[in-house]
Symmetry: C2
Subunit: 238 residues, 2 copies
């Protein structure tokens, strides 16, 4: 955030928003990490911590919203400043949703822990989570550095998460078909990987908001983001 206003308290206000967004980002990163560990290790206590941790993001988002509106009313910002403030509102909303996804995953720990499955079942979830975590790390880095190339690259890479999601969706269906005792746990895992795929979408939203903050223009709408699993089931029939 470039700051050189004659009123120094204005700079401090903008700074506060930026700091709060970065804080939310780190918190969301930790929540994702812990939610996956809780699922993979069947750690119920860790799952409970993740669920409780979500409150921080809810509160931080509300705080950013209120602060942003106050700044807009008081300062009547223009151009890049206004984009920064509106951008902080949008990004905080996506980070709050990312926290919700991590919470959803942690909640399934209790069901999955009861019916432990071989390590193989969790490999896919760990791989797709690593991709999403890397994307989140990149976009948070780009929020600090404001490098447009880095922002646009994040958006481009979301397709990889979507592709992996589709392939894992098929894999989990196969486990279910092989042995009906896998159905319950694989259904929960399906929802977990769906949550990770959605984290990828929220990261892409953040990249698009950042592009808007930096350039003043919205990215073109030919967004390489989609859940393609809705086609699963068609080719099996043919």
């Amino acid at each position: 955030m470039s700051m050189n206003h004659t009123v120094r308290s204005y700079d401090r206000e903008l700074n506060y928003l930026e700091k709060k967004v970065i804080e939310m980002g780190s918190h969301a990163e930790r929540m994702i990490e812990c939610s996956i560990t809780s699922i993979v290790c069947g750690d119920l206590q860790l799952a409970t911590t993740v669920i409780a941790d979500d409150l921080f993001l809810d509160k931080a988002e509300r705080d950013i919203n209120e602060k942003a509106i106050t700044i807009i009313c008081k300062r009547q910002p223009m151009a890049v400043d206004l984009r920064e403030i509106v951008g902080a509102i949008r990004i905080s909303s996506d980070l709050e949703r990312i926290g919700d996804m991590a919470k959803n995953i942690a909640k399934r720990t209790v069901a999955i822990a009861e019916t432990r499955q071989p390590k193989t079942f969790y490999c896919g979830l760990e791989t797709i989570t690593a991709l999403a975590q890397n994307q989140l790390k990149e976009v948070l880095g780009a929020y600090t550095s404001r490098l447009l190339d880095r922002v646009d690259a994040v958006r481009e890479r979301d397709g990889k998460i979507d592709a992996l999601y589709t392939s894992l969706f098929r894999e989990l269906l196969t486990y279910m078909m092989e042995d009906m005792r896998n159905i319950t746990v694989c259904t929960h895992l399906l929802f977990c990987i769906k949550n990770i795929e959605r984290i990828g979408d929220h990261v892409t939203n953040i990249a698009e908001t950042l592009h808007y903050i930096i350039t003043g223009y919205h990215m073109s709408s030919d967004r390489p983001r989609d859940d393609l699993t809705y086609k699963v089931g068609i080719d099996e029939k043919k």
Copy 2:
């Protein structure tokens, strides 16, 4: 929206936001209706229309956001006016997400249409959708009437959708276990009912925003909203 400002163009601006939100609401209602019809009747053309229709909500949300920021900057609104404007931003975001859910459902038509199942498979989806549609209709009515009782009742009723969702989740798992040929279609139906359950959550968000607009206070956080299916699988083991 109560309007009696000395500057009449200010009234017009606030009116514009309200009209646009109501328009988004009607559009979202139609999208839900059509998405379920497309799934139940295997109507691919209708599904395509729903998917294309989503663009309207995306555009309307962006329009409301931009207009709202312009009004805030120009008028520096206070108290109820500010809550109205910020409320319009929040409600439009929830309506846009409801449109996304309907689009997600419509997208699964193509997979489900290929493997037609007995009518029974779709009954639960139709029932839970009717509940969610009724909730959306009520909250949109409350947006126009500003009756607090009506708003609070919407939030209270969300628990019914969650309870039905949990029961349908179990039902679909049972179909899968009975015959592995049901696995693919039931997995898609699981995601459909999950989308409806999330529509219920967005309606609850709208009710909470409305409560804030009317009273100036946030509702208490003991929100009767939750996806309880994460426990499915535990009692089966015992």
